[in-house]
């Protein structure tokens, strides 16, 4: 039996590659197996709202691996109108999602 230590081990002020206000794009790639980056956000552009901390990597934890090194998790803000293409709501509507750093690309 493979023991998975589920202790969160999360660090509230990690050294992240991005900071609040940075523009980022979610990688437009496929994932093999478990992945928490939803399909509808792949390739979409957003802004870092905040840094949640570092967390064990769910893409490894899902396969009984320790999920280390821990990964930086961001709250990223997207415009609804950009995410959905045909969006009927107000242009100011936004959507926030938690995305790990290795899914984000810098955008100038």
């Amino acid at each position: 039996m493979v023991k998975t230590r589920a202790k969160a081990g999360h660090n509230a002020a990690p050294e992240g590659r991005f900071g609040p206000g940075d523009r980022v794009r979610v990688a437009a790639r496929d994932a093999l197996g478990h992945c928490r980056t939803p399909w509808y956000l792949r390739g979409k552009t957003g802004v870092i709202a905040s840094i949640h901390g570092t967390f064990r990597d769910p893409e490894r934890l899902a396969y009984h691996q320790p999920g280390l090194p821990a990964q930086v998790l961001y709250k990223v803000r997207f415009k609804q109108s950009e995410v959905w293409g045909r969006y009927d709501g107000p242009a100011s509507d936004q959507l926030e999602a938690d995305i790990f750093e290795y899914w984000l690309e810098p955008l100038k």
């Binding site: 039996m1 197996g33 478990h34 399909w39 934890l61 899902a62 396969y63 009984h64 995410v83 959905w84």
Partner: protein, 129 residues
């Protein structure tokens, strides 16, 4: 490192999405009624919590998500929330060597026989592994 295989079960005609990853697809109206939970559903919830909790740490919620996501589209769409959970719990305790498949199947047969003997209905349906 050997372990469970990484795979993607794709949703038909949805451009490479995994079966479960349906955000933004058309699925009709959402039923917002409150539902009573059956006893087995409450037990499933309790089992999951005990298995992932600090005493056992038999697997993680991420592992459970992975098993649920590995369902083919047909099974994924026709099973309910807790049916997905109980299958995941069953598969993961086997994967982690806590019990084996034969033990579970023998126990299922035993319970089915007991129910039938007392005239209670037992579903013939089998949840695919």
């Amino acid at each position: 490192m050997s372990g469970p295989k990484r795979k993607n079960m794709l949703r038909k005609g949805a451009g490479g999405r995994s079966t479960h990853d349906v955000g933004g697809l058309e699925f009709g109206p959402i039923d917002r009624e409150e539902h009573d939970l059956a006893l087995w559903e409450k037990r499933t919830d309790a089992m999951l919590r005990l298995l992932v909790g600090p005493q056992k740490r038999a697997f993680t919620v991420d592992g459970m998500r992975r098993v649920i996501e590995d369902y083919g589209q047909q099974q994924y769409d026709r099973t309910t929330y807790y049916e997905k959970w109980i299958r995941a719990v069953r598969n993961l305790i086997v994967e982690q060597g806590i019990v084996n498949r034969e033990e579970i199947e023998a126990r299922m047969a035993e319970v089915r026989a007991r129910l039938e003997k007392t005239g209670r209905k037992a579903s013939k349906e089998k949840i695919p592994w």
